[in-house]
């Protein structure tokens, strides 16, 4: 951070991009951001989820729906998961164990020793990989819950792992689930298996347009998962899951609110308007944290973050004063300095605009070419920034594909 050493620019005047880049070298910014990002990732911890179920019951599809496309092979034909796989998300927030599907021909001994080995492995890793929750999948159309299922769940409970029974591929009939799925759920619970909340969670991870079946039940499953995992991994789970963006948004909002408040305090001493926009360390830390919440891969996050200095240049052309007029109740800017309220508002808007960029990236809406130097990204950021300035610190949802 070299705020003090930089040449200050006149308030309200048209400032060239060159001047801005002198104020804010992109390289310095990127380096600062990287360091903050690294720290955010290392502090977040990891949630460990283990998924069980018969071969072909839809474990991998469920995982991909909730955590993004991390299990590559959901195929036809042979059992695809030949051995239990541990996926560690590259942002480090998730350790996911996709257990080998229980096939016919593997006896209880093999199934249980496989399970024991998994648990032992996870404990061996210094307690870091302790399994926080097990999803036990049962396909509704199997219409069976066998003795070996009961024994496996009891074994999991014996290891102190909370078990959530997930019924997969369940069709909805109107606003209720299929009668047979309901009967199966009742039958499972009547066996007295020690499952979370004495409930079976009916889901359909992948909508089937051919049958006209919608996706459903994933949010409920996630909510239940939040309930059973320890509080300290909630942040990691929020970051890891790629399904419930409301949770990500509210986590981001908290971060933004904290940063804005901090900027308000920091904004008390006079700071030249344009240079303050993107230079406060709290802002960079905020951006890193938001990137972590949205689990943006490291390199990609760095690439995206470069949009901010670019924005600085654009703002310079537009004129900071006209921009600041957008802030409700900011009042006239006196003597080239801004007050605490303005500083907080700008930080908040920056955070909101950045969260929007991160969310769209997490949803895969950006292609590999939409990064640095692309006007689309810049104009998105700018418009979000302007909106957020006039609206206050609320993350825009207008582009939400669900709503669209």
């Amino acid at each position: 951070m070299n705020i003090g050493g930089k040449k200050s620019t006149e308030q309200g005047s048209t400032t060239s991009a060159t001047t801005i880049s002198q104020v804010l070298p992109v390289d310095d910014f990127a380096q600062d951001f990287s360091e903050n990002l690294k720290q955010a990732y290392s502090e977040q911890g990891a949630v460990t989820v283990c998924v069980f179920g018969k071969s072909g019951c839809g474990k991998s599809t469920l995982i991909n729906t909730i955590f993004g496309e991390i299990v590559a092979d959901t195929g036809y034909g042979r059992p695809v998961t030949q051995d239990s796989c541990l996926y560690v998300h590259e942002s480090g927030n998730l350790r996911l164990i996709d257990s080998r599907g229980a096939e016919i021909g593997r006896d209880d001994q093999q199934l249980q020793s496989g399970l024991d080995a998994l648990v032992a492995d996870s404990k061996a890793d210094g307690g870091q990989g302790r399994i926080h929750v097990a999803w036990y999948c049962v396909a509704w159309n199997h219409r069976r819950f066998e003795d070996s299922d009961v024994r496996l769940i009891e074994r999991l409970r014996g290891h102190g792992i909370p078990v959530i029974v997930v019924m997969t591929k369940v069709p909805m009939i109107g606003d209720r689930i299929h009668k047979d799925a309901q009967t199966l759920a009742e039958s499972i619970l009547s066996r007295g298996v020690p499952v979370h909340m004495q409930r079976v969670f009916p889901t359909c991870a992948l909508a089937d347009p051919y049958r006209g079946q919608p996706q459903h039940g994933i949010a409920e499953l996630l909510d239940a998962t939040y309930e059973v995992v320890p509080d300290e991994v909630h942040a990691a789970l929020t970051s890891a899951q790629q399904f419930d963006f409301d949770r990500k948004r509210s986590a981001a909002r908290k971060v933004i609110a904290t940063a804005a408040a901090a900027a308000g305090l920091a904004g008390a001493p006079p700071v030249p308007v344009v240079s303050m926009l993107f230079t406060v360390p709290a802002q960079i830390a905020m951006m890193a944290k938001i990137a972590q919440i949205y689990a943006i891969p490291f390199d990609r996050a760095r690439g995206l973050a470069v949009v901010v200095p670019t924005l600085g240049a654009q703002l310079g052309r537009v004129g900071a004063a006209s921009l600041l007029k957008l802030i409700p109740g900011a009042g006239p800017i006196v003597g080239g300095v801004i007050g605490a309220a303005v500083s907080a508002a700008v930080t908040g808007a920056l955070g909101c605009a950045w969260a929007v960029v991160c969310e769209r990236s997490a949803k895969g809406e950006f292609g590999p070419m939409d990064l640095v130097g692309n006007d689309m990204l810049g104009s998105l950021f700018l418009s979000e920034f302007k909106q957020a300035l006039s609206r206050g610190t609320a993350i825009s949802r207008t582009w939400n594909p669900k709503a669209a």
């Binding site: 036809y76 034909g77 599907g101 096939e103 159309n141 219409r143 069976r144 066998e146 009967t183 039958s187």
Partner: protein, 467 residues
């Protein structure tokens, strides 16, 4: 062989289950049996109810429903078997052993009660086909049972399959399994009132069953015939054993009678009628007449070719030589071995005829059996029959060499005499080197004490002859 007319698709389009099968003229009159296999909960019992047209088999949700295999009637003579579904938590060895036991049980009875067609069910939505399922299908195929792979609980709309099912069919087809047409048939056997999924594919499935049925019935008939030939083989073997024991007791001079009885016995074991059997005995006797074995035991005193002695180690010889009981027993063993070797040659030649040509033993239009036997023995005897007899003698004579050298020498001499008599008869007059021209003595010349002795005697006789 039962032939069935295949229904055209228009004819059978609206038919399901038995209604479709009964469209076949012979399904009404021919007993048949269909067995249904698959994991638990794939809908085997539902499929059976669809085939039978009634709610016969219990279906359910939760714990496995079908605890033991059960059969249900289809039409007037058909049966369909609901098997116990494969469950997880049971080892591969147990599963395959259970399948094997079930099949052995089913295939024990007469052909009409064998399994004629097997349906292997996989849930269409599972998108998995496990290795153990291959194994079950291959086992069924190994028994000659036609297997139809069925994807159950499928979904079809306006006559078009769910795209996922089409992919699954392609994946299974790529496994190159021994299944009918190489591809599974997608069906939905039970309508789902909740989702509105309709029953479909039953007509195609029943058409496939109708196509497989003749194959399955033929395979069952083959299996039954094979089992009956196996029984014949066992009877013939018992006859050989009895005759062998008899020969060991009997005087060497009566050997031809034992022999004739044995061949007649083998013939009747294979249900060869009187005249043919007599012809067989005659033919085989002629075949061996004048053919001394390595022991010099030929067809005995009735031999027309003038063998030097009917049986060199006959009780008369041994008594006069005052040999020990051991030598006498060796002679008995040799006679038994001789009878056995001939008996087995006859048995195996008839057996291979019966199996290879799928010849019905009770068939009157029988080819000349003794010719077949002769061909078989000609083909196998030099390497099989004579070698066996020789190695047996060699084995027993290992003790003679060490303990009773003189007797041993005498025996070897007799063997040589018997052989050279045979050789001189079969070979042309001008033979420069007997060891080279006779492949049998050439083979055995090098090995064992008896071999070297024999070579020695060969040389002696040659010198005598040349002198």
């Amino acid at each position: 062989m039962i032939t069935m007319q295949l229904p055209t698709s228009q004819e059978s389009a609206n038919l399901t289950g038995w209604a479709a099968l009964s469209a076949q003229p012979d399904a009404e009159t021919t007993p048949f049996k269909i067995a249904i296999f698959g994991k638990t909960g794939v809908g085997k019992s539902t499929l059976i109810n669809a085939i039978c047209g009634h709610e016969l088999a219990a279906t359910g949700i939760g714990e496995p429903v079908t605890a033991a295999a059960a059969s249900y009637p289809v039409g007037p003579h058909g049966t369909v078997i609901d098997t116990v579904g494969f469950e997880t938590g049971v080892g591969t060895a147990t599963v395959t052993a259970d399948v094997q036991r079930f099949l052995a049980d089913q295939l024990r009875e007469c052909a009409a009660r064998h399994i004629h067609v097997a349906l292997y069910c996989v849930r269409a939505d599972d998108t998995r086909f496990e290795v153990l399922e291959d194994e079950v299908i291959r086992r069924l195929d190994a028994h000659g049972i036609p297997v139809i792979a069925v994807l159950t609980q499928g979904f079809s709309r306006n006559g078009e399959l769910h795209p996922d099912h089409i992919q699954m069919c392609g994946a299974i087809a790529s496994f190159d399994l021994p299944i009918w047409t190489g591809r599974p048939i997608v069906i939905n056997a039970g309508a789902d009132l909740e989702t509105g999924a309709e029953v479909f594919g039953m007509d195609l499935l029943m058409q496939a069953v109708a196509e497989c049925l003749p194959l399955g019935l033929a395979a069952a008939a083959r299996r039954e015939r094979r089992a009956s030939v196996d029984a014949m083989y066992r009877t013939a073997s018992a006859q050989i054993e009895t005759s062998g024991r008899l020969a060991a007791k009997k005087d060497g001079c009566d050997l031809p009678d034992v022999w004739a009885d044995m061949i007649a016995g083998i013939g009747s074991a294979y249900r060869i009628d009187g005249d043919t059997r007599a012809g067989l005995v005659q033919g085989v006797t002629t075949l061996f007449a004048g053919r001394p074995t390595s022991l010099g035991v030929c067809c005995g005193s009735k031999c027309a070719s003038g063998c030097p002695e009917s049986s060199p180690v006959s009780p008369t010889v041994t008594k006069s030589s005052r040999v020990s009981r051991k030598v006498r027993r060796a002679a008995c063993d040799a006679r038994r071995a001789h009878i056995r070797v001939i008996g087995e040659a006859v048995r195996d030649s008839i057996d291979s005829c019966v199996r290879a040509r799928e010849w019905n033993p009770s068939d009157d239009t029988l080819l000349d059996l003794s010719t077949v036997v002769a061909e078989f023995i000609e083909a196998t005897a030099p390497s099989g029959w004579f070698a066996d007899a020789e190695s047996l003698v060699q084995e027993q004579e290992g003790t003679f060499v060490s303990r009773r050298r003189r007797l041993n020498t005498r025996l070897a001499e007799l063997i040589h005499l018997g052989r050279s008599a045979h050789e001189t008869e079969s070979e042309s007059e001008s033979v420069p080197d007997p060891t080279a021209s006779s492949p049998r003595s050439g083979q055995s010349a090098g090995g064992g004490p008896i071999g070297s002795l024999r070579t020695k005697f060969h040389r002696q006789s040659r010198t005598k002859r040349s002198a």
